[in-house]
Symmetry: C2
Subunit: 234 residues, 2 copies
Amino acid sequence: MPLPESSHYIPHLAYDSVVFGFSKGKLKILVMEYHDTGLFALPGGFVRKNENLDDAVKRGLFERTGLKEIYLEQVHLFGDINRFDPAIMKRILEANGYSVPENYWMLDRFFSIAYYALIDWEKVTLKPDTLSDSIGWYEIDQLPDLIFDHKEIVNKALLTLRENLDKKLIGGNLLPEKFTMNELQSVYEAILGQKIRRTSFQRKMLSLDILDRHEKLFTGKSHKAPYLYSFKST
Amino acid sequence: MPLPESSHYIPHLAYDSVVFGFSKGKLKILVMEYHDTGLFALPGGFVRKNENLDDAVKRGLFERTGLKEIYLEQVHLFGDINRFDPAIMKRILEANGYSVPENYWMLDRFFSIAYYALIDWEKVTLKPDTLSDSIGWYEIDQLPDLIFDHKEIVNKALLTLRENLDKKLIGGNLLPEKFTMNELQSVYEAILGQKIRRTSFQRKMLSLDILDRHEKLFTGKSHKAPYLYSFKST
């Protein structure tokens, strides 16, 4: 594959996405490892000249996760001069066998618009992109070193997610369609990084009138089975 | 003055600022009118190639208001293809006597990063920029038609301001250093677009432990004078 041409993309502008998933009580994000460099980064990309910004981000996430409908929120445009390091970009391209012309557009100063995405872990089929060996889930408190200011982007995304948690009732995007109250509480605890009292959490969630309660699943010990809930469609 | 050269600025990226002020019980924003066009717009500008994004926005606001220390928050990057209209930009430049080359960089597709600013109305000295006749305060529910998607930018900024109001305790940035409880309540009411009960507002503000109370100003009817408050320095 040839090097991407500058004429197809908006120069100086990249996007980076912090893709949150939830599994086994832990909040995790997607991280890519570039070929033969030991460099880790958030999944990101560029905006085509004839493409809306949001569509570019959705395209990138679809290519890596196979998901078309993804809950997305914009976080912040990172625009300091020193956030970008052309030497790192050059190293990534060269490790992939490209010979990089001087003044190549991907070595210019880049702004990055950060998004976070919330996805149901079970629905994802991960696929590395052409420059990377692997894409995988990492617990947010056990991330490898990330290139550029990507750690700062993760922190800002997590902060924004926490601020939005109650306001936008978005916790459900990390769960399958039906879930127990305990599972929902685990999502909140993982995002907030702290334990919540079970009774007050349950009371608060029920008072918001946002959940539908479903029949219990009958099993051998059905008297103990918890109720399943889903978010009311809006 | 010659047309700004593309080599000095980041292409495709503008900023627009929604500058909130508060006067006579009303929330207002700054709007510019371009020379001989009848076109109104938010104050905005471009980012120099060697300039941090935040510094570009501060520079633009300083040039228009004379203020160096301004409370600023990023709102959103607007990136739809159709948001920008090169014919309008051309009209503005031509009305200012420029002959605009085809393919001139200011006619390209533009992303706009929106900020809101909160300023103390009393401290401002307004100054139109080189392309505009006037810059003035408009009540947010009595804005003139604005170019491009600037009305949408105002709405998004106002929404973000409302969401941030309690979280970031920023109402004080719209007031002089010392203010009465009534004045603070008026700011909240103007931002939220609704009346608040006096007693519960006062109780809430005092419970947050964020205000210093000062001596009453003694006047002829000093027994009726309200207390003055200021925000505790952080």
